[in-house]
């Protein structure tokens, strides 16, 4: 495969430098790709598609009143990150989640950070994800967000930024693991040449994390995965993680709260006590007694059981207060405040529309900015300035003026590219990276993460709900004695 026509343009490419030479770690992969004919490459792609079909890797899209299970979109060319660089990112992610957990714990208790005026009190008052019901709670180890999926992007000059922290029910980790399995089937010979740090231990690390927060110090706590059910777009992942951890996959109707305010699941042996719930249901649907009374997905009384300390919930209710995009703009301050350290991974420079000066800058520069609603995920409700129409910009200006607290803006980041197989050639496509961090008494970061790729030429939107695909991500160590 010829890479002579590969256009690097103005972006940072993850595998090739501007002279189209392989970056550190990518040499063997690039040489290998060059040796393959286009036909051979297509053959590998078919092999991957077949593997995905037979392994049943799907995600669910809701369209035209019907739920459709689609095959997971995957590109066969992996993204490579040298171990040395990754170690720094890993430290940065640990630091960040530690600070975020300090923040959440503080917010629901003393609120020192507000009293010390590091963060303005108004932010909390208008936060959609602040749950007053959680005030005064002290989850074990002071950890509220046990599982965090952070979205990282790399800019033109190669700097890695954190774009978002997902602290509610981040998804994607099963695809990260399945991608690796598929790549092993497609390019087994490359695994011979490379020292790729394995990531398959995630389910067992997740299980350990969940066990460690059990309210009963038993050897074998009962851990369950709580899913909203098959109509949820991440149902595949819920089933996958339950299966991998050997935990029961439960729906709300499988659980009851006893008179002793403990949680039980209904089994054929009778009721059986549940210690830890890895919940994949949003806060507001968790418990109809406390939140949305119409929720059929949750368990009436679950919050009572949690507040009594009879069950652990991961992530804890209310943890989402810290993945609000306005709160996001203050994470560097949190790191300085709680940890007395400088952030290892920077934030993308952001303008908070709440602040009058910053707002007028945003309104004057909509064409060059990305404007995001503070509380949405999945890329919904976003304006990408340079790709927008006048009408879209006018509409956004109206929204921002009406509810400035709901919006932040960021400069358009020229996010990096990775060579990607398109119809018959290899072309650059934009990517982000979502590593997953686990925290309880220990903190663990996945080696790499889920690389999401915008399969449409020139597109910057990587969400799988909006036409994005994925790649395997290799963190590679220098070879030691292995030839």
């Amino acid at each position: 495969m010829n890479l002579k026509n590969y256009k690097i343009d103005d972006y940072y490419d993850e595998l090739l430098n501007p002279k189209r030479q392989a970056r550190p770690g990518a040499g063997k992969l690039i040489n290998y790709l060059k040796k393959l004919t286009p036909e051979e490459l297509q053959k590998r792609r078919y092999a991957a598609e077949l593997a995905i079909k037979t392994m049943g890797i799907t995600f669910t899209v809701y369209s035209q009143g019907e739920n459709i299970d689609r095959e997971w979109p995957y590109d066969i060319i992996p993204r490579i990150i040298p171990l040395r660089e990754w170690q720094k990112t890993e430290e940065g992610l640990k630091q960040r989640l530690t600070a975020l957990n300090h923040f959440i714990d503080d917010i629901y208790n003393e609120q020192k950070i507000i009293r010390d005026k590091v963060i303005p009190a108004e932010i909390l008052k208008s936060s959609k994800n602040f749950r007053k019901e959680c005030t005064g709670m002290k989850p074990v180890f002071g950890v509220w967000a046990h599982i965090c999926g952070s979205d990282l992007v790399r800019d033109k000059d190669g700097t890695m930024f954190v774009l978002e922290d997902n602290l509610r029910v981040p998804s994607g980790v099963s695809y990260m693991l399945e991608n690796r399995k598929v790549t092993k089937r497609v390019f087994p010979e490359l695994f011979e040449d490379y020292n790729i740090i394995p990531m398959g231990d995630y389910p067992s690390n997740l299980f350990d994390t969940l066990c460690s927060i059990s309210p009963r110090p038993l050897d074998f706590p009962e851990v369950v995965v709580l899913t909203p059910g098959i109509y949820n777009s991440a149902y595949f992942e819920h089933a996958f993680l339950a299966q991998q951890m050997g935990a029961e996959l439960v729906e709300g109707s499988d659980l009851v709260i006893g008179e002793d305010e403990c949680v039980y699941m209904k089994t054929i042996e009778g009721l059986s006590r549940v210690d830890v719930i890895y919940r994949r249901i949003d806060d507001l649907f968790l418990d109809p007694e406390v939140f949305n009374p119409d929720s059929m997905l949750g368990v009436p009384g679950l919050m009572r059981a949690w507040k009594k300390g009879n069950v652990a919930l991961a992530n804890a209710p209310g943890a989402g207060v810290a993945d609000d995009k306005v709160v996001y703009t203050h994470v560097p301050d949190m790191i300085r405040y709680y940890l007395d350290a400088e952030p290892i991974i920077p934030n993308v420079p952001s303008f908070s529309c709440d602040n009058e000066k910053e707002r007028s800058y945003v309104l004057a520069n909509l064409e060059n900015l990305v404007v995001k609603p503070a509380n949405e995920s999945g890329g919904y409700g976003m304006l990408v300035g340079p790709h927008s129409t006048r009408r879209q910009r006018q509409e956004m200006a109206r929204l921002v003026k009406a509810r400035p607290r709901n919006y932040i803006a960021q400069p358009v980041i020229a996010i990096s590219t990775v060579p990607t197989l398109s119809d018959n050639s290899i072309e650059p496509r934009h990517v982000d990276l979502r590593p997953f961090t686990l925290q309880s008494d220990r903190t663990h970061v996945t080696a790499g993460g889920l690389t999401r790729v915008a399969l449409v030429k020139g597109s910057l939107v990587v969400n799988s709900s909006q036409g994005g695909g994925s790649k395997d991500t290799w963190v590679v160590a220098p070879n030691q004695g292995r030839s």
């Binding site: 089933a239 996958f240 339950a242 109707s253 006893g258 008179e259 209904k266 089994t267 009778g270």
Partner: protein, 323 residues
């Protein structure tokens, strides 16, 4: 294992069996009916009687004629017992328990569903009917074979067997009942040759003709057919065989007192049966009680393992803990 999952596996077993039974029933009877002279009493309406859905059928159709009956039993989404509905429910039950099933089985069930959806209309025409129903039978066998050879024979599998055997025994009772109503009530008006053909047909509806011949060396006669279908321990669709299997499956499960007691009671009743007496007018009555008994086993199974009105059970547990 979760009660919800157990329940879905149980219904999976029932729907798979139901689809298979329905396909065989329609296949065998449809080809037979075309051959019989008018004077023989069996009609298309009998197929509706067998399934116990007369009310539903006559709500939707005026007359029990070939086209309507076949459409109702095979292709109507409004009939929960139709092949189309059974396959839809089959798939739905597996879709929600995918983590339990071997993935090959899930793939086959998906294909089955797609096949039935796309081809169900060919069953409405005489020339395409046989081929369609044969394919349905093949899918059913393929799926039960896959499960038997690639799924652990643990609790989940056990529940599919319980569902299958209840459904199977139920179908056998219905076929005996309807067949015998015709034969016993009109013994004089039916020429002997056709009498034979009808008994053979009953056996074929349960794919029991060959097995019957191997076991019973005499010519076909009513008493022997009924005795064979009631209590041949080796024939898989004989009622006693289904009950024996049920007993075995239920014995492997926790808290099985009540369901096990019901099953054993019915087993005894079938074993102690006096067939000759039965054939003199008591058969229909006996079959009626048998159907009530099977419904009772179903509700025992369901109450024991699937339903929890949470408070009762909690109270029970509290007692166990304090007492």
């Amino acid at each position: 294992m979760l009660s919800r999952v157990a329940e879905r596996m149980y219904w999976f077993g029932r729907y798979l069996e139901r689809a298979e039974n329905m396909a065989r029933l329609v296949n065998v009877n449809a080809s037979l009916l075309l051959d019989l002279p008018r004077m023989v009493k069996q009609t298309w309406g009998d197929l509706i009687n067998i399934t116990g859905c007369s009310d539903l059928f006559y709500d939707r159709h005026e007359k029990a004629e070939e086209r309507n009956v076949i459409r109702f039993l095979v292709a109507e989404a409004g009939n929960p017992g139709s092949i189309l509905s059974s396959i839809r429910m089959l798939r739905e039950n597996v879709r929600t328990t995918r983590e339990i099933m071997p993935s090959e089985a899930w793939e086959q069930i998906n294909e089955f569903h797609i096949f039935v959806k796309n081809n169900v209309n060919s069953a409405l025409k005489r020339d395409g009917r046989h081929e369609f129903l044969d394919a349905v039978l093949n899918f059913c066998h393929l799926i039960s074979g896959l499960l038997s050879s690639s799924m652990s024979h643990g609790e989940a599998y056990n529940f599919t067997l319980i569902g299958r055997n209840i459904e199977r025994a139920d179908m056998t009772t219905r076929i005996i009942d309807v067949g015998c109503l015709n034969l016993i009530h009109h013994p004089d008006s039916t020429p002997e040759t056709y009498d034979n053909i009808l008994w053979m047909n009953i056996l074929r509806s349960l794919s029991g003709y060959q097995m019957y011949r191997q076991h019973m060396l005499e010519r076909i006669n009513g008493e022997d057919v009924v005795a064979f279908l009631m209590r041949d321990k080796e024939f898989p669709r004989a009622i006693i065989h289904c009950l024996d299997e049920l007993n075995e499956c239920v014995s492997r499960l926790p808290k099985n007192d009540y369901p096990l007691r019901s099953i054993s009671r019915v087993q005894r009743a079938v074993q102690e049966l006096d067939v000759i007496k039965l054939m003199n007018g008591k058969l229909h009555e006996f079959i009626d009680t048998l159907q009530v008994d099977l419904a009772d086993i179903h509700s025992q199974v369901s109450q024991t393992w699937f339903d929890y009105s949470s408070n009762e059970v909690l109270a029970e547990q509290d007692q166990a803990r304090t007492g």
